[in-house]
Amino acid sequence: MLIIPLVAVFVAPLLKPREASHLTALAFLLPFFSILYCIFGGCPREILLMRFSPPIGDIYLNLDFIAHAFGLTICLVSAMVALFALPYMEHRFEEMELDKNVEFRRYIFIYNLYAASMLWLVYSGNLALLYVFMELMLISAFLLIYKYGYGNRRWVGLLYLVWCAIAGVLTLAGFVIMAFNNNTLALNAIMAGGKGVGMVAWAFIFGGMIIELPVVGPHIWLPWAHAEAPTPVSALLSPLTVGLAGYVLLRIALIDYSFIEAYRMPILGYAIFSSLYGGFSVFKQTDFKRLLAYSTVSQMGYMLVALTLGPFGLLGVVIQYMSHAFGKSILFSSAGGIIAVHHGLRDINKMGGLHDSIPAISNAAVVGFLNLGGILTVGMLGEFFILRGVVDTFGIKTSSLGVILGVVFMFILSVWYGFYTLRKVFYGKPKSTERLEISRYLYVPLYVIGIISVLLLFPPLSTVLIHGLDMIPGLGLGVGGVVP
């Protein structure tokens, strides 16, 4: 089933825009359902693709619950954003005065490549394969920004490429060291070998991935890239791509947690600072997409915080990724909806009272912010596990109060900026009370994501998914496990 998106990469450009979008959506929905089937019914743990000599080792697909959780998210968001993109990109091509049909072919090719490489990344059981897809993902995202972005898109594209190339090289260095230490890059063989990762390799990978994640400091490419990318790309870039850095860190942490344990306090402090920095930055933004970009910095801080908090924290990483992906894809798409309907409107100061003209998009944005805040959506479980991680790691003492309050305030801040933004953008005195007729593609996909994000909190989806994750050694309650 994972082959389908790869096939779609080459088939979709042959079709007309509408059919191509539908095909893309279908190409990601089929794996979505097959993953669901896997979650409920079970399927083989590993599929061997090729055998390489050391130090690369077996190339195989890793079909565990972590990969399923990430894969589920990527499939759903990619499929829905592909549908949303249809009217949006047509609008964008008109704006750029390009030929719609010709350009759409190019666009959908890169889009599919981009999304499919992310999907394959999470199922890669070999770090070499993972790296290949990571680079493929970066380059295709770069091309999309470079070709169809806003403003000074070429500069922004290059900024993005350069920073992510640095991240990529650092990570590669880490992988290479691992390869020589363990004589393989296959995850299962590294686990079985028991040699671990080693501090140097960890440091390289960590350094690379916090650029990609990103945390404050190396985050400087992100507001530009998210703000100036065409919205469907932002809607994959922010929810899916950046969080995959968290995925890589999670995989490495599951092999060897010693680096995190050794440097827990500095990393945790940095992550909380980063999250609060991003959160406070949101209040001052005037560009809606840039605002959402800073919110991504804040949310990625959650992931790094979670990474340091032991088994329950690691479980929190997975859930937090899903919740942020759902929320942020809805929000970027609603920002895109406003751009498409209100002719390029991005300045928040000119918004206010938009609910009257586009109620469907406005209500979708509410669901998006509920996801970010972890209210009544799958994010609730994420927050719960992260908080449990805090308790397990630090206990309840007066000396741990600083960490507790830091994490708690971090969660509070998301809801504060979320609803503050909602009020500024959608509520208040409307400029006109006329309801605009808008394409269904602009909002129905968002509700599909929203509904899934709520359903994932409740049985039966959460039952099987969380239970499956829980069974993985080192995650949640775990059984046995590497993480002490």
Partner: protein, 653 residues
Amino acid sequence: MNEWLVFLLLFLSPVVSSIPIALLYKSKEWTARLPYLSVFGIFISVLMSLYIFFTFPSELPDCRFVSPYTWIPGTGIDIVLITDYLSRSMGVITALIAFFIAIYGLDYMRGDYRPSWYWFFFNLFTASMLLVVYSDNLFLLFVGWEGLGAASWGLIGHWFRDDDEIAYVGVPGRKVGPLEFCWPPSFGGWRAISTIRFGDVPMFFAIAAIWAFAGGNLNISEIAWGALFTKLGAAGTVILMLMLLMGLFTKSAQVPFSEWLMTAMTGPTTVSALLHSATMVAAGAYVFIKLTWYIQPWNMHNIPGVESVYVIVLFVGLVSGLYGALAATGMLERKVLLAASTMSSLGLMFGSAAASYWLPKEVPGTGMNLALLVAFWYLAVHAFAKASLFLVSGHLIHATHTRFSVGNLEFGKKMKATFAVTLIATTFLVGMPPFTAYWVKSGMDEVMEHLLHEGMLLPLILLLATSLTYSAILARFTSLNFIKGEKPKHEHLEGGNLMRVGYLLMASILFILWYLIFKNKETVGFVHAGYASTSILVGIAILVAYVGALYKPRISSLSAIGTFFNDRMYLPYLNDYIIPKIGFFVAHLVHGYGNRGIDGFFNTKVMPGLFGLISRGIRCIQSGYLAHYIKVVLGVVMMILILAAIGGVYLYP
């Protein structure tokens, strides 16, 4: 009937029945008809809650229902419901009040510009509240709890256009210092969710901590609380319980988190009645009563830390009680006055529930703690009485087109049913003998008198001061709206029959409660306390305060202090001035220096400059002059020689 079917119908029928109207927001014709379906959904919940009340077991362990379907296996996150004394009664109260208000709402919200939003959130709220009431599992409870917060936000900001002054709180344009004391609905919504979230996350943390320390158990009735507190030690217990209480205090608008409740009055009146008086804000007090019910702190005098927690709750509650009552004395806006009195009542609930720590004696024959019973019964009486008063003020706002208290005796005579309900609800609530609340309040007096044995006089004083002020403010409300107020400028008296039905039904329950106090065996303590001479004295004092305020609702010589109270003793400064100033200062630092620095300096100056510098360095080597190259080579040779010399000295000394 299968008990899980009952529960499913109870929780899901309100939500499912409101989905059609949420989806059909475009069709005017359907949105006029579909509210009846939503109300019907709530009616099913009423039936189910009554069915549970009369047929389900009430004693542990039979009253705990563990779902055969586990939510997340092996983690303790499960669907566990409970139908003990508190839950079964509170369930009926919630469902009934929601149903009466929904009937009223059919009239009140007719012709509104956002019916689908309103009914969806109204019903979502009802379901969430029922979930909070019946769940025994803390995680499940918290799911409902978050539903309350979200629905509250949606309903307060219902009139998001901010275009009608009648939905504001405060007087537009009136400045107190640098702040304009006037809040539109969209702001009220934001303030509500931001305050509530400020408490919810700590509460969520506390739940996670309980989960960790109670061995993966999250069921309130099963956790070994004594062992948990002992394990945590004094500091741990206080931190844990304070975190938990943050959620309860913010939800119940206790000092200093009370401001959101005042601006929540920007929502439709039905919302104020259901959420912000009877149920949602009472959820904080309810959960506290429920936890205390199973914690049984009166058996924990030897565990360090527990007493501090209960002292804190006792005083936060009683101080909020007095604060709310005093603030209300200066208020003229009908709903805000009632909101302030609501927070006052909630404070009394917290206070008397907390007093249970010092009250080991049980009500004979039932094994229940008198202080908790008093708190819970006061919650019940307050819910019906205050909801009636809110519904009355909603009708008055429709009839007079103003949210400020107006209405003279002539107007009162035209609105006979409304006037009568107001009189009943106020007299039954303030604790005037021999009406419903008198017996409950007598119980409360007895509880606080008991604290005298512990050397605490202050609680009793606070309670008495609150009770008298409280009586005066509700009398003032009655007087200013029906007897001694100004003559209304507009009178719109037609229609509103469903509204009348709503509040008549609501007030009629007060009589049933009155009857139940004498009939039920667990409330004999109230009746007993009611015949005590001190209680009768207090009752007479309350009566005097009531009659006095009815006769003279406004004292002009005290108008300065009245304005101070009306401005909620300047508490809005905390919410609207101090905290935003700090927040925006940080945001300014972060954005003005951090982000600008990165974008303007690092991204556009340092990085390109650095690359330029390196590039120039490399290019200037390749100049093409032979002499230049020779110099470079010689330089490098020299460097190597020097390094070799130094190395030689260090390596082979």
